[in-house]
Symmetry: C5
Subunit: 93 residues, 5 copies
């Protein structure tokens, strides 16, 4: 899973029927996680996240497992909201 | 999922039988999404997208879930058309 | 899917039994597809491709779907041969 | 699988129900493994790893296979603890 | 699949029960395959490979298909040994 920040939303009226009712959030991988920061991704929200939340995102087939419909064409899903980003313990060398 | 722009098409007469009837579009990941822009990918179209449309693309096994035939050898599928690219809300720092 | 050019072959006499009978081709992702060109990959051939052909390659679990044996340990498969590489329509900006 | 070092923890009270009870560790891919070092990832712990342990991490759908609940929305799982990192044999050219 | 060279081994006494009996080899993607050389990965051995062998590695869910136990939490597996690395035919431009 990756940790990222919710930075935006995107709306698609015309979409795959299995995606109706899903909320799409744009997630920015956290810089704190390392030098190379990946691309922003669009993730379905499973836990009620909002703009500025720091979230845990599952990608790949794991994302489907978090959806109510496990045949949903979803490849990224927010599966948790980090309690306190300042309390992410990272033990530097 | 990633957001990208449909920039082209590609035709394969000789192909896997399960792919017959599919439309292949070339999608360019959107620059707005971040500095590192991924490679162009070829995605099957599930929602009637056309050249210049801004689309939502599912990749990996999720793409198959969007196809009528879920055993289709497809690893990228356009699952939504973004309503208004200018309304993609991205909250900068 | 990605578009690439078949640039070579590789032979493995000692291999997983499920791979016996497969032809392994080395595919070079097409430069035309964008600046960052991915690594060469070894793909199983499903459509009778040959050296210099421009092909459509499915990766990940999608590749297995193109094999006769869907439990084959294959992560890349050539699923189509591009009719005419010069006719790949790419609408620049 | 990749080899990495456990460098931190992250806590999510609000999370997908299937993730309740999981411990989330932040893993840093080992520099010894090569020049390009990937991003830190968040992995579920399956073997009782702790901070500073050198661990073996499975990613993608393989991670789910290591969980008690194979429908868990998990895309990275610590599946082993390296006995002695100094005894990782790497035969240089 | 990728082509790589076996450069090392790694031992984990404490590991997921499904991994007991597996041999873990460290594989270095071959430079001959292109400029950008990926990270070293740890792959399970399915074909009796040894240090210095040039091998074919399947990644992702395909790796599980090569294991005796298809629910093994394995994301990379050596599925073939290249007969003669000098006979890898690569047709340059």
């Amino acid at each position: 899973m990756i940790i990222g920040k919710v930075v935006g939303t995107v709306i698609c009226t015309r979409k795959n029927p299995k995606l109706v009712g899903n909320k799409f959030l744009i997630v920015d991988p956290m810089e704190k996680m390392k030098g190379y920061v990946g691309d922003r991704i669009v993730a379905v929200d499973d836990v009620g996240a909002g703009i500025h939340d720091i979230v845990l995102v599952s990608t790949g087939s794991a994302a489907r497992m978090a959806c109510d419909v496990t045949t949903s064409p979803v490849d990224a899903c927010i599966v948790g909201i980090v309690d306190d980003p300042n309390k992410i313990v990272i033990v530097e060398q």
